[in-house]
């Protein structure tokens, strides 16, 4: 008479080792095929009315071949992408301690505001009288950027940080040409610790790159800079704070010697988050600096983009800024799209820049205010130093246990003779539920591990992160290699064969070949 409901569960009643499932799924961890394997060519998840018969005007250029792309209904589409999303790590899930990337929280207010029809549903080429609010966003954001950096001008159109670098270097090249030195000044000085985009950008527009070594403490020596300067040098490209997480303490002197030599100072602003509201790059003597809105100003990374890279410019470079730019004429805002008789070096992109990111960044700035932005920078620097101080006894610091800025740089000296590399260590972090830190960058440090927590991490989050790294570090020193060399064990995929991907590139799906019928 008892209504039995199956087996009772008692804690400690251990099951045998888990079996492999029929589907390959593991409860909520779901496998998901490609749309080309599940979709059908005749299916569409969008209802569109077939137009009434009409006379086509395609001039004989109608597509006769099949495109070869299947569709999915709406519910199938939803499942496909929701399942895929669940295989991704994200800021909303956990800390991204990625040095140089500034993975801070992406406020959802910014998403709401970017989607207001007055921002999202406005065309770049509709009459300017119908887009004054959009131009105001650009002008207001430009004002914030210029005030935070104490620079007189800003080019808003670059679409990403690297694009901003290109813009800044183009302005420099134009300024040099205007002085009649275009043929002679063709060398750019770049520290060995620089991000790869710096030399790539310089080379793209015809400069030769000359490397400057770093000092023992990771910073650039003005004496070395002076030695490298000459009439052939167009510019220096420095990151500040630098890629080792340190403020370039001689930056004012470096700017001075660079300017005295008739060259320009490009600053890579990727690490601006450490000093917003604390010091202004313009006061340090820079001529141009790109700002990554998707780093310093919270616009989302979106799995790889879109970014935005406005470039603040000094008086020396402002005349050469690209089109378009916004001018205030009384209460009216005018977008200047053509440089009439001016020295503008040209155009970086069609239309006006990453408006969607401008709205988000402006909302972030308005939310924090100048006081909040300063607090955010202080918290970012405090968090990084807290991590450094908490790990310094176990993990080696290439420049000694000294204060850093918003990111802490470790090397792999402490892993020597363990048989475990920086890469292995990083993969083991994945099993613990963490995205690895930036690895093997900057190149000047062996087996670099660059950790940037940002101001978005709570103390509890940092404490757990630190405790986990300590556990991993001790484990590595104890020679428990299995935890590392075969990691990750628990991620949706184990380590992937990147060699195979590069040797036999498969860059799109192709239908499987039909199996040949065996001749009987």
């Amino acid at each position: 008479m008892l209504n039995s409901q199956g087996r009772p569960t008692r804690a400690g009643a251990a099951s045998e080792k888990a079996h492999e499932t029929f589907t390959g799924n593991h409860a909520l961890q779901l496998e998901e095929a490609l749309i080309f394997e599940t979709g059908r060519l005749e299916v569409t998840g969008v209802d569109i009315d077939e137009p009434l018969p009409f006379t086509s005007a395609l001039g004989g250029l109608e597509r006769t071949s099949e495109i070869g792309l299947p569709g999915l209904s709406e519910p199938e589409t939803m499942r496909h992408y929701v399942r895929l999303s669940q295989k991704n790590y994200a800021i909303d899930s956990g800390i991204y301690p990625l040095g140089s990337c500034t993975m801070k929280h992406n406020p959802r207010l910014n998403e709401r505001l970017a989607r207001l029809p007055g921002f999202a549903d406005v065309h770049p080429l509709q009459p300017q009288s119908t887009a004054q609010g959009a131009l105001a966003v650009i002008a207001d954001l430009a004002h914030w950027l210029m005030t935070l950096t104490n620079m007189p001008a800003v080019a808003m159109s670059p679409k990403a940080g690297a694009h901003g670098e290109l813009c800044g270097m183009m302005a420099i090249k134009a300024a040099i040409a205007a002085k009649g030195e275009g043929a002679t000044r063709n060398v750019v000085l770049v520290p060995e610790s620089a991000h790869g985009t710096n030399p790539a950008t310089a080379a793209l527009i015809g400069f030769q790159v000359r490397a400057i070594p770093a000092r023992e403490d990771g910073t650039v020596d003005p004496v070395q800079v002076q030695a490298a300067l000459g009439p052939e040098v167009a510019a220096i490209m420095l990151t500040n704070p630098n890629t080792c997480g340190l403020f370039e303490k001689d930056i004012v002197e470096i700017a001075r010697v660079v300017h005295d030599a008739g060259a320009y100072f490009y600053c890579d602003g990727a690490n601006f988050t450490a000093i917003v509201g604390k010091v202004r790059p313009g006061d340090l003597g820079i001529d141009a600096m790109h700002i990554n809105l998707h780093k310093t100003f919270s616009t989302p990374h979106g799995g790889g983009g879109p970014g935005a890279g406005p470039v603040v410019l000094s008086d020396r470079l402002a005349p050469f800024a690209p089109v378009p730019f916004v001018l205030r004429e009384g209460s009216w805002l005018r977008l200047v799209e053509h440089a009439e008789g001016e020295e503008s070096f040209g155009r970086m992109t069609a239309f006006h820049g990453q408006m969607g990111m401008f709205v988000r960044a402006l909302a972030y700035m308005l939310s924090h205010g100048s006081d909040g932005l300063k607090q955010a920078s202080e918290d970012a620097v405090l968090n990084a130093n807290y991590i450094r101080a908490s790990l310094a006894d176990l993990m080696s610091l290439p420049f000694g246990n000294r204060p850093c800025m918003h990111e802490a740089l470790f090397d792999d000296v402490w892993l020597k003779d363990t048989g475990i590399t920086t890469l292995d260590f990083a993969k083991a972090m994945i099993d613990e539920g963490y995205h690895p830190m930036t690895m093997y960058f900057p190149l000047v440090v062996h087996g670099a591990m660059l950790i940037e927590p940002t101001e978005s991490e709570s103390k509890a989050s940092l404490d757990l992160f630190i405790a986990t790294l300590r556990d991993l570090a001790l484990s590595a020193r104890n020679g428990e290699t299995e935890r590392f060399t075969n990691a990750p064990h628990f991620a949706p995929r184990r380590r992937l064969d990147e060699t195979r991907a590069a040797r036999q590139p498969i860059l799109k799906w192709t239908p499987p070949q039909p199996v040949a019928q065996a001749a009987e």
Partner: protein, 123 residues
Amino acid sequence: MTIRYSKDHEYISVDGDVGTIGITDYAQNALGDVVFVELPSVGKAITKGGEAAVVESVKAASEVFSPASGTVVEVNSDLEATPSTVNEDPAGKGWFIKIKLSNPSELDELMDDAAYQDFLKTL
């Protein structure tokens, strides 16, 4: 046949006035799995220390500098389909280019096998 080595871990194996150039076992090991090799055209003039080829692994691209000057007379096109040969047999089938030497005395500046082995011990 003479084999000589450079400090950048290239070798040149000389037969008459033709030198076969490749990278050493130490180099292929340091690079990791080779995924692509970019070779020059036949007829290209190369100077000692100039770029003879580019070898790419998954995470790095390295220039292969020529240990001697000359003109390219043959390139190992098999490496296009099977770059892994560089890892498997760097001294043999994994050769990159053959050049007609323009200045054979340059070979005297390179290390012989014994000297190269000693050099490796210092690294």
